[in-house]
């Protein structure tokens, strides 16, 4: 064994997985996990913990793995995270815990994410669940949204003795974990549903099909249903479009629509009653993780897939691992390319997308080099489906129906670090506050708000 390198992880063969929705990464075996755990230097001042938005005691759990005490490892992770099986799969560890790992200076960082995943999967397989020994304190908290921030906030509050009810607008619980992230990255029944069961086991109540701001307002929750505090974790669900000609043609979808049909409504399964349009040739516009998810979904449904992104490879916002997987599976990247028009046939269906070549100019406000159009470089890609993956913004349904809840210019709810908003007793966190970000940052915000709510209600 080369101690400088990670124990390699098994993955489905790219050619095989390009045609199915099974998970790409197959995870460590017990032996592999123990071997990988032995690479941890157990630093006195563990930088990895600082890199974790929910501050998991990483060296402690890895030590337990090394000792083959997997239950012990699970208990340590559970103290800090409500969703370890999810985080082990979708966290950008390379820029967080693993990005800080001392091993990474000369060799490869310890595979912390894959170890976390191993421990969580082992706990599922062995029927080990988080335990709760706390007396109810009689105070009620409403959590709006059952995505990562809501689940983590609800879990933490339940552990503190609160009577917590989670409200979800859709028919299934999990938020972006069920409608956004595809099955092949995050299995729904085997992982997401089980994580939610664990939160339920802490005594958290769940009510679906409730749209806060429509079915019931925050004022009504607090005044009529006697909730002492409210946490808003409603995410960033509104899709953006480019505003170019032809964008309303049949066959143009937001990544949200495409992924919701496939993930939440199971349209990838031919038995599903919800349809999805599978093109012969699909163009995905955008370079983030959601774009990669949409592209890899279209590919698996049987389409040829092109990703169009206006900057270069170095600026792709998606995780390196996702881009690598997408390329392995046969997705073609058209970088430094920007759409200018969607072309439609006489029946209003997409027949192509007109693009222009870009080159990188001076750095812009984001610090990235600004893409500039190359004059006269227009060209057309023939295609029958276009998926717009340009980011999302928070849904104004709640902010527009809650007096005293202020938002900023990007429609994000204004909240302090402890989640407190401009309205008393109302806290917020996750994408609803930051705009579209990651699962783990939302979880971190949910935890912080749980602490904030606890302090507020303990006064």
């Amino acid at each position: 064994m080369d101690v400088m390198k990670k124990v390699p992880i098994k993955e489905q063969d790219p050619k095989v997985r390009a045609t199915n929705f099974e998970e790409v990464c197959l995870g460590y075996s017990k032996e592999e996990a123990v071997e990988e755990a032995s690479r941890c230097l157990n630093c006195k001042n563990p930088l990895c913990v600082q890199g974790c938005p929910v501050s998991i005691h990483i060296p402690d759990f890895i030590s337990k793995v090394k000792e083959e005490d997997f239950e012990g490892a699970y208990r340590i992770i559970s103290e800090s995270s409500s969703l370890p099986a999810v985080c082990g799969r979708v966290c950008p560890q390379e820029t967080q815990c693993e990005g800080k790992c001392v091993r990474g200076i000369k060799g490869e960082a310890v595979s912390i994410g894959k170890l976390e995943r191993f421990v969580a999967d082992w706990a599922f397989a062995n029927d080990i669940h988080p335990t709760l020994n706390v007396e109810k304190n009689g105070k009620k908290v409403a959590v709006i949204g059952s995505g990562p921030s809501g689940l983590s906030c609800a879990g933490d509050l339940a552990k503190l003795g609160y009577d917590v009810t989670v409200f979800e607008a859709l028919h299934e619980f999990g938020g972006v974990l069920v409608y956004g992230i595809p099955e092949f990255r995050l299995p729904k029944e085997r992982v997401v549903a089980k994580e939610i069961e664990n939160v339920k086991a802490l005594g958290v109540k769940f009510e679906n099909n409730v749209i806060i701001g429509k079915s019931v307002t925050i004022e009504e929750l607090m005044e009529k249903e006697n909730f002492d505090a409210v946490f808003i974790g409603s995410g960033a669900g509104l899709p953006k479009f480019m505003g170019i000609p032809g964008e309303n043609a049949s066959g143009v979808f937001s990544a949200n629509e495409y992924l919701t049909r496939s993930n939440l409504m199971k349209a990838f399964n031919s038995e599903s009653s919800t349809p999805i349009m599978v093109g012969k040739k699909t163009v995905v516009v955008g370079g983030g993780n959601v774009a990669m998810d949409a592209a890899r979904t279209a590919l698996r449904l049987g389409s040829e897939v092109y990703v169009v992104y206006r900057r270069s490879e170095a600026e792709l916002p998606a995780r390196v691992e996702e881009v690598h997987h997408a390329k392995e599976e046969g997705i073609i990247f058209n970088l430094l390319t920007n759409p200018v028009e969607i072309l439609e046939d006489e029946n209003g269906w997409v027949k192509g997308i007109k693009c222009i070549r870009m080159e990188l100019g001076e750095p812009d406000a984001s610090g990235r080099r600004r893409p500039v159009e190359v004059p006269g470089s227009e060209f057309t890609i023939d295609c029958d489906v276009v998926i717009m993956s340009l980011g999302t913004s928070p849904n104004p349904l709640i902010s527009s129906t809650t007096k005293g809840l202020e938002i900023n210019g990007r429609k994000c709810i204004i909240a302090q670090e402890n989640g407190a908003t401009t309205k008393e007793g109302v806290y917020a966190g996750g994408d609803a506050v930051t705009g579209a970000a990651t699962v783990i940052l939302a979880m971190g915000a949910g935890r912080a708000a749980a602490k904030g709510i606890h302090e507020y209600l303990s006064k």
Partner: protein
């Protein structure tokens, strides 16, 4: 689960259910809609609210069988339950927010076509409850497809029924009745029209000529109904609007109906289905809910 209090067949292929949904009933207003899933594996179907009873905590919906999803729904009887029932979604009709006294000074004309009679009903009922008499035109293909006549009669000022084939009431399309009413010397300040998109388009073309401000209720394809997917986007004037959160009611003179009807075909109509199957060829994954499994 959302218990069904009443289930009734109103006409060939048109069914009505009264469903227990207290959260929806306590906050809904005319013009809003719900999304239902009949069973655990059903697609999400948006339906305009046809009546509500705040005390009973119930919502009434009327559904026309147009595909596999709505066909399966018809097996649900009183005592059964809808698996999912969420709402109220969308914005309430504009007049709900207006001052009742000023509404009394305006003359409203409601134009309903076919199934559109059902969502027009709660609006007319609201007007009636607020002491405002409105004129209502109800159009149907033929006598047997006229629905909710008694209910409508009880709340409308004047009710004009027309059938395309002349088998009941006046004869001809709803647009003809509008023209006739104007010819008879009537005038209106606001028209609200709900029905098939093609009908709303022609009503709007006429009312534009008449200079009659017209509100339409759009029913494009939707998935979540909360602004998330953008499937329901419409060109309204020079803006793109989402029917689910910006609507479903819009100024009919600004809506691009031709585009909306093309988008509607993506999955919904027979033509759209055939087109989709032809386009997708072997990659058609079925499950469109419309093709009956034979793709």
């Amino acid at each position: 689960m959302y218990k069904i209090l009443k289930a009734e067949k109103l006409a060939e292929n048109i069914f009505e259910w009264e469903v227990e949904a207290p959260r929806v009933a306590s906050n809904c207003e005319p013009g809003q809609f719900v999304i239902v899933r009949a069973f655990e594996d059903s697609e999400r179907i948006p339906l305009t609210i046809c009546d509500y009873d705040r005390e009973k905590g119930s919502i009434t919906i009327v559904v026309q069988v147009i595909g596999e999803g709505t066909y399966k729904m018809t097996s649900l009887k009183a005592g059964d339950a809808f698996h999912d029932f969420v709402g109220p979604l969308g914005k309430a009709s504009e007049f709900v927010e207006e001052d009742v006294e000023s509404l009394k000074n305006k003359k409203f004309l409601f134009v309903a076509g076919g199934l559109g009679t059902a969502p027009v009903y709660p609006q007319v009922k609201w007007m009636h409850e607020h002491g405002i008499d409105v004129d209502v035109i109800v159009g149907a293909k033929t006598k047997d497809l006229v629905i909710m006549e008694e209910e409508m009669k009880a709340v409308a000022g004047n009710l004009y029924i027309t059938t395309d084939d002349g088998s009941y009431g006046r004869s001809g399309m709803v647009t003809k009745v509008v023209e006739d009413l104007y010819a008879e010397g009537k005038t209106y300040d606001i028209c609200v029209t709900i029905g098939p998109m093609i009908m709303m388009k022609f009503v709007c073309l006429l009312t534009k000529k008449l200079g009659l401000h017209t509100i339409v209720s759009m029913n494009p394809i939707m998935v979540d109904g909360t602004g998330m997917c953008g499937a329901c986007r419409l060109q309204v004037g020079d803006e793109i609007k989402f029917a689910c959160v910006d609507g479903p009611e819009f100024d009919g003179h600004l809506v691009d109906f031709d585009q909306a009807m093309k988008r509607q075909q993506m999955y919904k109509t027979k033509e759209g289905r055939a087109y989709l199957a032809a386009k997708e060829g072997d990659t058609h994954h079925g499950g469109c809910g419309q093709c009956g499994g034979d793709k």
